[in-house]
């Protein structure tokens, strides 16, 4: 009876797991199928081929787009972590005039939908002459209110005596942040890094607005232009380009997963 229940449980879980994983695996395997096979639901290609990738690579500068996306997303992520934690540290742990107002302003920023600022921001970029530059892709994302608030919340829990000790030991405030707070904040830094990286990596609308030069396009942008613009020509090629887009994000997640789950579980500082 016990065994039966266990079998039923695992069967249910397996079905659920397959429901989630199957479409992804199907997509991955279909990129290795010749056009006649793409319609099939089988997960193992009958005639294994790399043609889809070759075609994709030949028709549009995906290599360059991959470099662009990596550069843009990495720069944004690093900036959000560095500037975000500096701001969060000040907001959480330093006393200065106007701190409550700054807190309120940061929360207020969260309430403004991105679509609302799209046009003014675009106008600004045009005025600055930044259209078709990396600056247009990066600068608007250097600061992130969500990241600041998440980091601030975490920093508030770090005991004051650590800051006091560090000051007595002779550390400057930036040094306290980067040598004391950062090592203790790995979970929250990871989660902010993943969200920021994924957000920057997957962004399509903004690059479409400010970049028209093909060599500056990010991967999702190029993919959109390529697939929707009919450049792909076949489903297999479209899927191959989607794979190129999704693999780095999956890899980043796998790499930081442990911290990610730790952070989601809401653990603070131990010991």
């Amino acid at each position: 009876m016990k065994l039966l229940r266990r079998i039923a449980l695992y069967a249910g879980l397996t079905v659920a797991a397959i429901t989630f994983i199957y479409p992804f695996l199907w997509m991955a395997s279909s990129t290795f199928k010749p056009p006649v096979e793409v319609g099939s639901l089988a997960l193992i290609p009958h005639d294994f081929t790399l043609d889809n990738y070759r075609t994709m690579w030949a028709r549009a500068p995906f290599g360059r787009a991959l470099v662009n996306s990596t550069f843009v997303a990495t720069t944004i992520t690093l900036a959000v972590l560095v500037f975000g934690s500096m701001t969060a540290y000040a907001m959480a742990r330093l006393n200065f005039r106007g701190r409550p107002a700054l807190n309120a302003a940061t929360i207020a920023v969260l309430m403004v939908p991105g679509q609302l600022t799209l046009i003014p921001l675009y106008t600004l970029i045009v005025q600055l002459g930044w259209v078709d530059t990396y600056a247009a892709l990066i600068v608007p994302y250097l600061f992130n209110a969500t990241a600041i608030l998440m980091l601030r919340q975490f920093f508030l829990q770090i005991p004051q005596s650590l800051i006091d000790s560090a000051r007595m030991d002779g550390m400057s405030e930036p040094r306290i942040l980067f040598t004391i707070f950062w090592p203790l904040s790995k979970p929250v830094l990871s989660i902010v890094a993943i969200f920021t990286f994924m957000g920057a990596w997957n962004e399509v609308l903004w690059p479409l607005l400010v970049v028209r030069e093909q060599n500056l396009m990010t991967l999702p942008q190029l993919l959109t232009v390529f697939a929707l613009g009919g450049g792909a020509g076949s489903v297999g090629v479209s899927l191959a380009s989607a794979m190129v887009l999704v693999v780095p994000v999956v890899a980043a997640y796998a790499f930081l997963q442990r911290n990610f789950i730790e952070s989601m579980a809401g653990s603070g500082i131990k010991g």
Binding site: S161, D164, S165, A166, G170, I269, G271
Partner: protein, 375 residues
Amino acid sequence: MPSVTFEHVTKRFGDATVIEDFDLQVADGELLVLVGGSGSGKSTILRMLAGLETVTSGRIRIDDRDVTDLAPRDRDVAMVFQDYGLYPHMTVRDNLSLGLRLRKIPRHEIDRRVAWAAGMLGLEPLLDRKPKQLSGGQRQRVAMGRAMVREPKVFLFDEPLSNLDAGLRAQMRIEIGGLQRRLKTTTIYVTHDQVEAMTLGDRIVVLADGRIQQIGRPIDLYRAPINRFVAGFIGTPPMNFVEGTLRESIGQAVFITEGMSIGVPREKTLTANPTQSLTLGIRPEDLRVESSAAQSVDDGSSAGVLRGRVVLVERLGGTSHVHFDVAGGGSRMMASVSNDRLPSVGETIVVRVPPERVHLFGADGRAIGRTAEIV
């Protein structure tokens, strides 16, 4: 030359004045204890000396150097915190040496000092562990070691024992006292625990509401408290207080309240106004409990003797605390009694109040007949 000097130091947080016109000199090599309840401002004073809080007005000197506006790292003081403030991600060795490395002290000198402090505190086997692998007492020692390796002019302790359990607290108290006597470094120690203050301090400063109540050697504070606050704060169990008035009777001053009258020595009443209401204080250990059976007391209201009905007996082992209601009056008092002849609950006892041990306080709380030790 005093090691630490506070001159008219005032601290305000917004509209709230936390420290008011604080003056203090700490002698070189002295262990001074700042004691007071929560909100008395004791930690703020320490943090101002450390440079962790700004000073609203007044000056602070260490030796003859004005440190009021210096950063914490430039003051040559080291601090031990209540929750230790150890860096959780660093080993004990790194925790000890970080302050020295940041000061660019040569490697061999750092190693020498870390080895010295670790040896003195018994930390050698723990040097490569992280704080969370240590017990509370070990963490406390690491925190002390971190202060010691700096070889500072002044040690600051901010309630260092309050996170430890009672047994360990007593042990660490002895260690801190011993260490300070060996190192002879000027030390300022903040605590809310008057036992720590009494046992550790060369001198004690009693604080309340950001003001100094009394400064003195522990025994002086115990014997001659300057006001009712100090009298109640110093000494365990706390002093008994009874409200009453002073009368002149047959050439002697007598303190009278419901259920008792106690003759008090002349010198204790010199500054008292005969009609004013007073508070009499007597320490539980100064009361002499005599079982009623053994005593054939003729009159319970005769001078220096009172009757009471026992309401509670707390047995502590060596001594016991006998709580009793004074007969004919509402006041409840407590006496410390050796265990030989313990009265039982409900029994009527006779309690002798030695006049020379009595403290009198005026309506303003100041001790009467004592003006010499005023701060």
